[in-house]
């Protein structure tokens, strides 16, 4: 499906290659680039600043001079972070838990979305809206009563508690994406499969999932980003270094009372931000295509 979009896009765009390009088109293009450059500077200045800070020694940072560039980049902060066994543990924990949660999210939201999009049952419309409305109860409210729930399950101070509660952040929105996407799949496909004697699960597996792959990738990326960047839940429930994940771990290991290790903090930021950026770079097209179909049904 994304292939079709690209082709149509290319055809539409090639029109500007014609010699008789209208002045308005060229003007629009210039304006577009200016706007893009302006916002690119605004968006990328902070990460750039973090990178430069990470390349300085604490003495250089303490003096407060030249915050935006460094003549002699200092790689010690990065080396220190990457070779720090605690940081490695945080990184591996985050990878482990995020992958598990993303998988769980996909299973739960695909099943639920299929049921809600295709199988009308009593209250399914209300339920579909209700799923979306779970976001009305935010983390900052839930984390206190969840103390009780999680300690009852003996999950406090264990990375596995995140496997249980992170899906609450990702599943509702992913379900909504998948509902939109599944709704856009023509019903004739279902009926043809049913006539051939397929069960619901077979239909789901053989037809819906392959066709809805871009939507699934969109949901994957959303779930991944949300879990990777979550801060409050890990902060509240994880106490031991071995159990921590990146966001809470960086803040816990590198900030003690009123002593902050800025160079290392920024280096850790950069390293911790790398995986989502890389994943996005590879899967961006699918994400856009996935949201296209899902969004219009919203």
């Amino acid at each position: 499906m994304s292939g079709a979009v690209v082709t149509a896009e290319a055809v539409a765009r090639r029109s500007w290659l014609k010699p008789s390009i209208s002045r308005e088109r060229r003007w629009a293009l210039w304006v577009s680039y200016i706007v893009l450059i302006f916002f690119a500077i605004g968006f990328l200045a902070p990460p750039y600043f973090e990178l430069i800070t990470a390349l300085k020694t604490s003495q250089q940072l303490g003096s407060g001079k030249d915050p935006w560039f460094t003549a002699h980049p200092y790689f010690g902060n990065f080396i220190g972070i990457i070779t720090n066994p605690d940081f490695q543990t945080f990184f591996l924990n985050t990878v482990k838990v995020t992958i598990i949660v993303v998988a769980l999210t996909l299973v739960m939201s695909i099943l639920a979305a299929y049921a809600l999009a295709r199988m009308r049952f009593f209250g399914s419309q209300v339920f579909a809206t209700g799923v979306f409305l779970t976001y009305l109860v935010p983390e900052s409210l839930l984390f206190i009563p969840l103390f009780k729930v999680l300690s009852f399950l003996h999950l406090i101070n264990s990375t596995w508690c995140l496997v249980l509660i992170w899906p609450t952040l990702s599943v509702p929105f992913c379900t909504w994406i998948m509902i939109g996407y599944f709704s856009s799949i023509p019903k004739e496909l279902d009926e043809a499969a049913m006539i051939d004697g397929a069960s619901h699960l077979q239909m789901l597996w053989k037809i819906f999932i392959p066709v809805a792959l871009p939507g699934i990738i969109a949901a994957t990326i959303f779930a991944f980003t949300v879990c990777w960047g979550d801060f409050l839940y890990p902060l509240a429930y994880l106490f031991t270094g071995k159990q921590m994940v990146l966001t809470a771990g960086i803040v816990s290991d590198l900030i003690h009372g009123d002593v902050l290790d800025w160079g290392h903090i920024m280096a850790a930021n950069v390293v911790a931000s790398a995986p989502p950026v890389i994943i996005y770079a590879f899967l961006m097209d699918y994400y856009i295509a996935g949201l296209t179909a899902g969004a219009t049904k919203g």
């Binding site: 009780k148 803040v251 003690h256 002593v259």
Partner: protein, 450 residues
Amino acid sequence: MKRLRSVSRRDALKLAAVGAALPLVHMRTAHAAGSLKVALWDHWVPAANPVMQKLVADWGAKNKVDISIDLLQSGTVNAKILLAPAAESLAGTGHDIMTFQDWGVQQYHQHLEPIDDVMGGLIKQYGAIDKVAEYLGKADGHWRGVPTSVGSQYKPSCARISWFKKAGYDVQQWYPNAPGNAKTAAAWTYETMLKLAPAAQKAGMPFGLGLGLTTDSVDWTGAFLAANGAQLVDAKGNMQLRSDAVQKALEYMQKLYPYLPADSVTYDDASNNKALISGQSALIFNPPSAWWVARRDAPKVAEDCWTFPSPNGTAGRLNPYLPFFWGVWSFSPNKTAAKELISWLQQREQVETLCDASVGYDIPPFASMHDFKIWAEVKPPVGTVYNYPIRPWHDTQSNIAGYPAPPRIAVQLYNNATFNVMVVKLAKNKQKMKDVLDWAENEISGYINM
């Protein structure tokens, strides 16, 4: 257990009564075994945590107790030291020994085991305990938390020697690094501080005194209020907001405010550190953490630092004090071992070892322990933190903002930084005194009725 069955009940009671009278540390009970889960403060001095962990592990090995340690951070962003007690009190399970910061014991006292036996023994051994520590550690007439040295800190003056010399005052003569007397520091008052503030600002080194909502800012203004005889709420729980002393205090702050850094109203706990280390402040109220980082990152600044008590007010000289406590949860399965461990860690020998490891940052709650060698040895310059602990001739006491109001009211005054908010409304937002006082009265009566 078997032994008791063969002894008469009266004898058993007698044995228990005798045992309770002895300091706990001398009692080798048959019950000190099993396992312990301990939550300790994560010390920012890198060398301090391993020393503590080794001490605890050695004790565990000697007494055949399996100990696991978790470290909790304190800070605005990663306030585990606040989240952990909240979580465990709600959940009813968790560690055996928990560390509490300042008001924590008061906040969770119904879940904490009375610990009068340990405290009784320690007070007998080491003398009087700090008044503020007692105020914070006792609830309903019983000790619920043992004040510890680890993490406990004063926030006295930390000044740049050379700048003060240029202004005509020799801080090293006020408080030399040798036994002295209180008269040499007679010039160090809040009036002097106000007089010097404009000069400091002109020199590009304004006094880094925060008016934010975090502990550093609240602690120093609380000590300032108490040192000048002002209270927002008195010990009986009555509002004293409209007293002369409070009025004078607010007027002082109005006069001082223009000479503070522009961002003083959003100072967090790290801001005054940054100000000192960058060489852009002549005075902060802070424990030696700022000096310690300057020693590594800005040696020239560190060599020029001198730590000494807070200024004198009309009602006395008070150092802001932020104590930490160790408590035993009432749901702990191994209270005996927990109490024994705490008692052992509070012995002078262990306290000194831990103090040395923290480069003199930790302040023991017993005045008799304020004579460790570490404070005389730390350098550069030699004697820079000699006057950090309260010495007998300092004529100084400790204070926490909100004292002596009833703790449940004082903790709200402290956490909501009520006085600081009043000062900001008055001095920065230029609201009328009457409006500010009315607002404060509304707030504080809410705290009293809470």
